[in-house]
Amino acid sequence: MLVFKIAAFAVISAIIAVMMRQYRPEIALQISIAAGLLILLAVMEQITGVLSTVSEIAHEYGIDESGLTTIFKVIGISYLAQFAADTCRDSGESALAGKVELAAKILILTLALPIIKILLESVNSLLLKG
């Protein structure tokens, strides 16, 4: 089970980081970042599986795939930005964390603007119909 591996790995890295923090705080931070990255990489394979299954389902039921792709991208951006922001906060750089989140928000809005535009257009056409 992957979850056991991840749990054990996370706990061990946490212990090592705590132990190292007394002597070399900068190494402790690097350990926690590396551990976080490794955990992300470990589940990456699962994520691609989920993505392909969901887009298969979408194709089967005739869901607009471009919209779904946008949503996946948005989810990805928000998870990555959350990861980076959390790491920055852990290292005491909450201002940097805020910037990362801001950047992510802007990126997400750029991606989402077409969807919002389509929605507004369809609402407009609804009103014009009447």
């Binding site: 949503i71 959350q82 989140e101 969807i115 929605l119 609402v123 609804l126 009103l127």
Partner: protein, 389 residues
């Protein structure tokens, strides 16, 4: 003994055949009379209406409108054929299947949204809000497209029913005149014109736009997460309800009251005509008034058959679109119910409001149909002579 029995049997057989023959001759007489009556009518447009129905519905009726009227006049309605019910069943199933894809889409997207919502690690990330907003936009896009398509179906149906009323009314008016309900047709004529003119225009230009505006408002209402157009959205809904209710009540009230009041007048004039024929035409006067009776009763049969057929055709024209709209209402309601526990509150509220607006559309079509059916009911009730022939 044996001879006697043979004699008895022969007598019995003779009596039986005679009675059957007698029954046949009288029925054939009525048959021919009604057939002649129907042959004189102009039924091409009715035939076109039947031809334009879905094949499953067409199988419920006779192939030609003449035959349908004849059957209805002579034997009433008889829909006991199991295969016909099965064909309707398969039609419903295929409709359900066609709508299932949309249903799955909406529920699937909302579920994905709910899962993402649940997976978001913490509340403190404002990124979650944006994610939910984008989900809302995506779901709203699909819902609005569906809503707009459904409203188009509704609009087409209103047009189709109004077109059928226009087709049916001249024939019904002619038939009303043939049974002697002259002042009755004087009432029904403006009523039908009101239905095809005023009511249809009101539905097309006020009710359906109100429904569309209500749908658009409900999308914009939940756009920001704080309901800011709630009252306006409610206003459009109650406005639609009031317009429909008022139209229905006024129309029904006026038409039914007038229908009742003219019945007696027509009855009187037909009786006067019969009496005059009986008394003032020498020698054959009695015969003429008798013939008048037969002709009138045949005309009544034809008129009632035409009325019943018109009701059936209205039902068949509106059945499929109403079924479709009904399925959509159901789909939106189910999606709202399923989304509520898992996603944020905007999506289920949007679905519920759209479902409410579609209920209004459903009601608009039903109101038009019921108004027409009530009118036909009055037409069937007018016999030209109070208290039957």
């Amino acid at each position: 003994m044996f001879k006697r029995m043979i004699l008895l049997l022969t007598c019995l057989a003779a009596v039986c055949t005679a009675s059957i023959a007698f029954a046949e001759t009288t029925e054939t007489g009525l048959d021919v009379e009604i057939q002649n009556g129907i042959a004189e009518l102009e039924l091409e447009e009715w035939q076109d209406t039947i031809d334009s129905l879905a094949p499953e519905f067409r199988s419920l009726l006779s192939n030609s409108i003449d035959q349908q009227l004849m059957d209805t006049a002579m034997y009433g309605l008889h829909w006991n054929d199991v295969t016909q019910i099965t064909s309707l069943h398969s039609l419903a199933a295929s409709e359900l299947k066609a709508q299932a894809a949309f249903f799955c889409t909406i529920i699937g997207i909302s579920l994905v949204g709910g899962i993402v919502n649940a997976c978001s690690t913490s509340e403190r990330h404002s990124l979650n809000k944006i994610l939910i907003f984008i989900f809302y936009c995506f779901v709203a896009c699909i819902a609005v497209t569906k809503f707009s398509n459904t409203v188009s179906v509704g609009r087409e149906t209103v047009n189709a029913i109004s077109g059928f009323i226009e087709t049916a009314s001249p024939l019904l008016l002619t038939l009303l005149n043939t049974v002697g309900a002259i002042s009755g047709s004087g009432i029904i004529h403006p009523a039908m014109a009101f239905l095809t003119g005023f009511v249809t225009i009101m539905l097309e230009n006020i009710v359906i736009p109100l429904i569309l505006i209500g749908g658009a408002l409900s999308v914009l209402n939940h756009f920001t997460g704080q309901a800011q157009l709630e009252q306006l959205s409610r206003l459009t809904k109650s406005g639609t309800k009031w317009v429909l209710g008022l139209m229905f009540t006024l129309y029904t009230g006026v038409v039914v009251l007038q229908g009742i009041s003219v019945k007696a007048v027509d009855g009187l004039s037909v009786r006067t005509a019969k009496f005059a024929a009986d008394r003032f035409i020498p020698v054959v006067g009695g015969m003429v008034s008798g013939t008048l009776d037969t002709v009138l009763s045949c005309s009544v049969l034809i008129k009632n058959a035409a009325g019943v057929t018109a009701i059936i055709l209205t039902a068949l024209i509106s059945a499929l679109p109403l079924f479709r709209i009904g399925i959509n209402i159901f789909a939106f309601r189910i999606a709202a119910a399923l989304c509520e526990p898992i996603s944020d509150s905007r999506v289920p509220k949007l679905f519920a409001t759209i479902a409410d607006m579609l209920v209004m559309l459903f009601a608009a079509i039903v109101v038009l149909c019921v108004m027409f059916v009530i009118t036909i009911g009055i037409v069937i009730g007018m016999n030209g002579s109070a208290g039957g022939i």
